[in-house]
């Protein structure tokens, strides 16, 4: 099948923090994963399961100790973080993380528009761009299109996260990586940002990994769900099987696969 082409492939990836010390932690343990083009995968797992480590290993925040990572046939294993950046749209958990507070909304979008490109001595933002950004920001329905030259630092967490999401897809990335990007928002705002996420991902059928601590969301969104525990993937459910999932079934599957209770203080069972 043509649409089963692999986008991201991790094979035998191991990441050990503080190797050789008392704090040694195997955060990724011989982990393999193939993400198909167009997959929208939700990732769940308890605290310290290695979800963020997976994201960071893919985007090159740190190198890995063993294994290989390829994206659309490109070997990323030894590529630096800033050279990989052009392939990935990223949204972090912390709403403060994805935008530059001291810069204007439109300047932030201009940075995202140039993701992975070289930065020369041309003016940082053109008039045509400004119009484009205004249109894009208007899509958020937050009324920010009239505040394009306001400093992002003045905005609320939800507003900033919505902008970050827009920025991460302003130039179509090969993959969108969302690490608990709604966890720091109030429930209503989180719902909004999640709906926007679904819209953006669906529109472009973007290949997406979305870490969430909310089992309900993990079941409702995406076409595939993986569960992590202790640096490994212990559950991988997709298609019809995923549609039939319930939170209870998921919890049951977790204790069976890991031999322990699901522990994540922030997991909402609603």
């Amino acid at each position: 099948m043509a649409d089963m082409e692999v986008m991201l492939s991790l094979s035998g990836v191991t990441k050990i923090f503080n190797a050789g010390t008392v704090n040694e932690k195997v955060a990724m343990n011989n982990l393999s994963l193939d993400v198909n083009k167009g997959d929208f995968i939700t990732v769940i797992g308890g605290n310290g399961a290695g979800k963020s480590t997976l994201m960071n290993a893919v985007t090159g925040v740190f190198g890995i100790d063993e294994g290989k990572i390829t994206l659309d046939g490109i070997d990323l294993t030894h590529m630096s973080e800033n050279r990989r950046a052009k392939y990935f749209g990223r949204v972090f958990q912390d709403p403060m993380m994805g935008t530059v507070p001291n810069m204007e909304i439109q300047e932030n979008l201009a940075l995202a528009f140039r993701r992975g490109k070289s930065h020369g001595l041309k003016w940082g933002i053109t008039a045509a761009e400004k119009r484009l950004y205004r249109e894009q920001i208007a899509r958020l329905g937050l009324g920010l299109e009239d505040r394009m030259s306001a400093k992002v630092g003045l905005l609320s967490g939800g507003q900033r996260q919505a902008i970050t999401l827009l920025m991460s897809t302003l130039v179509r990335p090969k993959m969108l990586l969302l690490d608990e990007h709604t966890a720091a928002l109030d429930p209503k705002t989180a719902e909004k940002v999640l709906a926007l996420t679904d819209e953006i991902v669906g529109e472009d059928s973007l290949t997406t990994l979305m870490v969430t601590h909310n089992m309900r969301n993990a079941i409702d969104y995406g076409n595939r769900l993986i569960m992590m525990w202790d640096g490994k993937i212990i559950l991988d459910i997709s298609g019809e099987e995923k549609k039939k999932l319930t939170v209870e079934a998921l919890l049951g599957a977790f204790s069976k696969a890991s031999g322990s209770e699901f522990s994540n203080d922030r997991t909402l069972l609603s």
Binding site: T59, V61, E81, N82, R83, R84, A85, K86, F88, R90, F92, M96, M97, G98, T99, V100, P101, N102, M103, E107, A110, L111, A112, R114, R115, G116, K117, H119, G120, L121, K122, W123, G124, I125
Partner: protein, 317 residues
């Protein structure tokens, strides 16, 4: 008195480039760069030595700028590529420059260990000397005009540069480094370039100071950071509402002018000039602690008003 103030204003313009340079590292890059104390002397030493050797002063100033750029790059490389903590990286460059500056000045005189250079013999060959010859102005007014023109030119150049794609990435680096890397910006490079420009400006300031006072001294940089910060804080306080970047830069130049006028007046009124550094440090201490004092006062007020508002809040909730 008028003469004192005019002299203060002209000094303010000449020292403004130091303040702008410190602004780039401290504010835009959020990098507490101590190498500036060495860079300012480096600029002075390079300009003094080259003018001594017969070079055109404009060209000598350009070399001073470039010298500062190299010094800044070294600090940047120490801090990024070698992961030395920023403060220490700056101190290492500053200390190295102490010896290097003596070497540069010794090169002019031919005597090892020359710790200062007198340029009086060459005073007609400095930028200020040339402008005086061309316009017939006296020393203070020549300094005023050269300083003002230079300050305005630098504001324009910085405004342009920090509006370019590259400039935007440097500003962004100082504000959110992690995000920059996610956007594919090499933050090592942006830091190094930012520090190079910052120290280049500071060295240029040193070159102008040296040409204006007709000497360069290995200790002239002591306290330069604090002077730069004092100017920035004064400027930012006065131009608090300035949103436009050019206006902010202009504010810093004005801050530098005000600082120098205050200094000139204080010295005129009899304070020994050796107490100047203490006075400057106290200005900066007070200015830096103002936000703390403000939050303290505000939090007291807020606690008070919260108490009064609680019933209403509950009603709304």
């Amino acid at each position: 008195m008028i003469a004192t103030i005019t002299a203060g204003v002209s000094q303010g313009f000449i020292w403004a480039m130091l303040a702008l340079g410190v602004y780039i590292s401290f504010r835009l890059l959020d990098f507490a760069d101590l190498s500036c104390e060495g860079s300012i002397t480096l600029g002075a030493s390079i300009a003094a030595m080259l003018i001594w050797k017969g070079m055109n002063p404009f060209l000598a100033s350009l070399f001073a700028f470039l010298g500062g750029c190299i010094a800044g790059s070294v600090t940047g490389i120490l801090a990024t590529k070698l992961k030395i903590p920023p403060i220490l990286a700056g101190i290492l460059t500053m200390i190295s420059l102490y010896s290097i500056n003596i070497h540069i000045m010794s090169f002019a005189t031919g005597t090892a260990g020359t710790a200062n250079l007198q340029l009086l013999k060459y005073s007609k060959k400095t930028i200020f000397g040339i402008i005086r010859r061309l316009t017939g102005l006296d020393k203070t007014y020549a300094a005023l005009i050269v300083g003002a023109v230079a300050a305005i030119a630098v504001i324009f150049i910085l405004y342009w540069f920090f509006g370019t794609e590259l400039g935007c990435t440097i500003r962004a680096t100082g504000s959110n480094e992690k995000m920059c890397r996610a956007q594919g910006i090499n933050t090592d490079t942006t830091k190094i370039i930012g520090l190079a420009i910052s120290n280049g400006m500071i060295a240029l300031s040193g070159s102008m100071i040296c040409q204006n006072q007709n000497f360069s001294d290995v200790n002239m940089g002591v306290g330069a950071i604090v002077i730069g910060l004092a100017s920035i804080i004064i400027g930012e306080t006065i131009f608090m509402r300035a949103k436009n970047f050019a206006l902010k830069l202009f504010g810093i130049v004005i801050g530098s002018v005000i600082y120098r006028v205050v200094v000139a007046v204080v010295i005129y009124s009899g304070m020994p000039s050796t107490d100047l550094k203490l006075m400057t440090a106290i200005i900066v201490m007070v200015a830096l602690s103002l936000p703390m004092i403000k939050t303290y006062l505000f939090s007291k007020k807020r606690k008070h008003s919260k108490k009064m508002n609680t019933p209403e809040v509950q009603k709304n909730g």
